[in-house]
């Protein structure tokens, strides 16, 4: 799980933060509710998770709540990986 958290955190930092961005993201930083990731751009993150972990996330699962922190994202992905 720790390795997955590192991978997801690295992707989020690379995909959503600008080089000069002052925001710092940790495993429990709010992503959606803070505006770092919005509902429109969340699609990139969903695609990354599906490709990286060979899973399929339904729209019912890929909610703003489930995608709000690295921790909650990894719990969701973990469920699919058994």
């Amino acid at each position: 799980m720790d390795e997955m958290k590192e991978v997801v955190l690295e992707y989020i930092t690379d995909e959503y933060l600008d080089e000069d961005d002052e925001d710092e993201v940790s495993y429990d930083s709010p992503l959606i509710s803070s505006g770092i990731v919005d509902s429109f751009s969340m699609v990139s993150l969903k695609r990354f998770l599906e490709t990286k972990y060979s899973i399929k996330l339904s729209d019912e699962e890929a909610t703003p709540e489930a995608f709000d922190t690295v921790n909650s994202i990894c719990i969701l992905v973990g469920k699919h990986l058994g």
């Binding site: 600008d18 505006g35 429109f40 751009s41």
Partner: protein, 415 residues
């Protein structure tokens, strides 16, 4: 009665939640023509106040131009009030064709199709031209109407960091396996007033075989040397495949929008775009008024030149006054305050000084980036601009923010 107390309660709770979140939009009534100086009833029931308007999209000051009003009257007298039809049944008049042709010539595009609004144009264009084999790659800060249109389309979509060409390149590389790629951006972004780097975007689209769509609603009529838009500004008129724009801002300010671009794409919109197929034709007076607008701005650059002068002058004076603005060259001037309460309090105090501006905060702009958005117009005279700057000086001094930069304002008021 089906609307029971418990049903009503559901909706009142939701309205209360909007109020609690500070997102409730209050009613404001304009009791005059749209212009630089307007008469406003605010709050509801209050005596009318004469204020200077710095929050309209009336960039060229054409909303109440006598020639445009006269042309609209002529349209009303000769072509009637409404069409009582969608375009493809019996709702297309000769003046609809004339306006489409004139817009195509003005924007430098092959063909144009009118829509009831640019919101409708953006809602309909993607679904009409793309399918599930295609991908849309959009800037993350595009207008909400483009987001809605993209979501209505079966094509896959992806996003890139705002105006970040390195990231766009990466996404274009990622999606080379798709049938077609469509890159989507605003020409001028409405909240920040920044210009999408269309020259670099055209280069990337050529390199990676992608089409480019630009929503130029906040640019048509005044950006570029002759006001053609952002594509003229960057010298890439031939490199744009689709422009969507509105007649509701610089181009007269009434209503209506269009999709303009490659003839095959426009034909597909004519055949398939649902907001075009299933909503009424643009009313004749608006079509006639819009034709006059295009004639006026095609024959003279006087109004866009004045707007350019106003923009330079206002930005210089505001900088001298010590306000923290996002740098730029467009008539959208964001005065950065970062804190939502500060933005709303200052906007209210500006109104008391006779200056009508609005505070914008999350989720309309990113969290921690609250601002007052000032919009300039060719209808503004120098004394209007001076009065606005004077009010910003006074209110800025009251809140102790003059001369402060981002970090200092945040330190004082928080985000």
């Amino acid at each position: 009665m089906a609307f029971s107390d418990s049903t009503r309660g559901l909706f009142t709770d939701e309205i209360e939640k909007i109020k609690e979140d500070g997102l409730f939009k209050e009613k404001r009534f304009i009791c005059s023509e749209q212009d630089a100086e307007i008469e406003v009833e605010y709050p509801e029931g209050a005596p009318h106040a004469k204020v200077l308007n710095f929050c309209a999209n009336n960039y060229l000051g054409l909303s109440s131009h006598p020639d445009v009003i006269k042309a609209a009257h002529e349209g009303l007298d000769t072509r009637g009030y409404g069409m009582s039809s969608v375009r493809f049944i019996c709702g297309t008049q000769d003046i609809h064709r004339e306006l489409q042709d004139k817009v195509s010539a003005f924007l430098g595009m092959e063909d144009t199709l009118l829509f009831p609004s640019c919101m409708d144009a953006n809602s309909g264009v993607f679904e009409a031209i793309l399918g599930q084999e295609d991908v849309i790659i959009a800037d993350r800060l595009i207008h909400a109407s483009l987001v809605d249109g993209i979501r209505l389309c079966s094509a896959e979509y992806d996003t890139f960091k705002h105006m970040n060409m390195k990231h766009l390149k990466k996404k274009l590389e990622l999606h080379q396996d798709k049938r077609t790629r469509l890159v989507v951006t605003d020409g001028v972004f409405s909240m920040d007033g920044d210009l999408a780097p269309l020259d670099s975007m055209v280069d990337l689209c050529n390199q990676y075989d992608a089409m480019l769509l630009v929503d130029d609603s906040h640019a048509s009529g005044f950006i570029g040397k002759t006001g053609r838009g952002t594509h003229e500004h960057f010298g890439v008129i031939d490199g744009i495949d689709i422009i969507t724009t509105t007649f509701g801002k610089g181009l007269g300010g009434a209503s209506g929008g269009c999709v303009s671009g490659r003839s095959e794409l426009i034909e597909l919109c004519r055949q398939k775009a649902r907001p075009y197929l299933f909503s009424n034709s643009l009313a004749p007076p608006i079509v006639s008024g819009s034709i006059k607008v295009i004639d006026l701005i095609s024959s003279s650059t006087e109004r866009r030149d004045k707007l350019e002068w106003n923009t330079k002058y206002f930005r210089e004076k505001m900088e001298e006054a010590g306000l923290d603005m996002r740098p730029g060259e467009t008539p959208i001037v964001p005065v950065m305050l970062y804190n939502a309460k500060l933005a709303n309090d200052m906007a209210r105090d500006m109104y008391a000084e006779g200056i009508y501006v609005i505070g914008f905060c999350f989720p309309v702009v990113p969290a921690g980036k609250a601002r007052i958005r000032v919009q300039l117009s060719a209808a503004h005279e120098k004394e209007h601009l001076d009065k606005c700057v004077k009010a910003f000086r006074k209110i800025g001094e009251k809140y102790g923010i003059l001369g402060l930069g981002k970090n200092e304002i945040i330190e004082k008021y928080g985000r």
